[in-house]
Symmetry: C2
Subunit: 110 residues, 2 copies
């Protein structure tokens, strides 16, 4: 069993300071060892028909489904999730085992 991703697409409520939310999430995730990696981004398409109104993507990677469960059930995640959800107009969550169909090229030697 390989990597599992917890993918979260959101649209923030008007007036939410997204940078602050991202800072809080980055701090939380950096202190939670079971989170293998965390990346995020803001949509640049701006095409409502394609994005369905979602504007930001947050993607957390875990080494296993157990690590994801351990993160989701952690009290620090629960505390953050309450504040996070309150800042959202809409949210979509998908958890999936990652199938790497084309691996990235190897990094050049340091």
């Amino acid at each position: 069993m390989g990597e599992v991703k917890h993918l979260c697409l959101v649209k923030f409520k008007e007036g939410v300071v997204v940078d602050d939310v991202v800072d809080d999430m980055t701090e939380l995730v950096s202190e939670m060892d079971m989170v293998k990696s965390f990346e995020w981004g803001q949509d640049v398409l701006n095409q409502e028909m394609l994005t369905q109104g979602f504007t930001h993507v947050f993607s957390l990677a875990f080494a296993s489904a157990d690590d994801l469960t351990s993160y989701m059930s952690h009290e620090r995640h629960a505390a953050f999730a309450g504040t996070f959800m309150a800042a959202l107009e809409k949210v979509l969550v998908i958890d999936f085992p990652v199938v790497i169909a084309k691996p990235p090229p190897p990094l050049p030697p340091a």
Copy 2:
């Protein structure tokens, strides 16, 4: 400017053989050098309230926005996209420059 991701969430129409679609996409992407990497997965939450009905995630990474544009405008992508879209009940697309907030741990030396 770093990596850009093209994220596609879908729900397939009933009767679609998902493995065949994935095989076709994998073949296409493996032959398109501007696609840096490609991963996909199937949702395991099965919670309509959270997934909004989307069941599969396809994530393509590009080294730059130019590479993404070059892929999207390529005739081979256009040909595939037509068949792909016809297999979908719903689709959501987000393109975003990737912000790596917590990098994955380095791989152990080979």
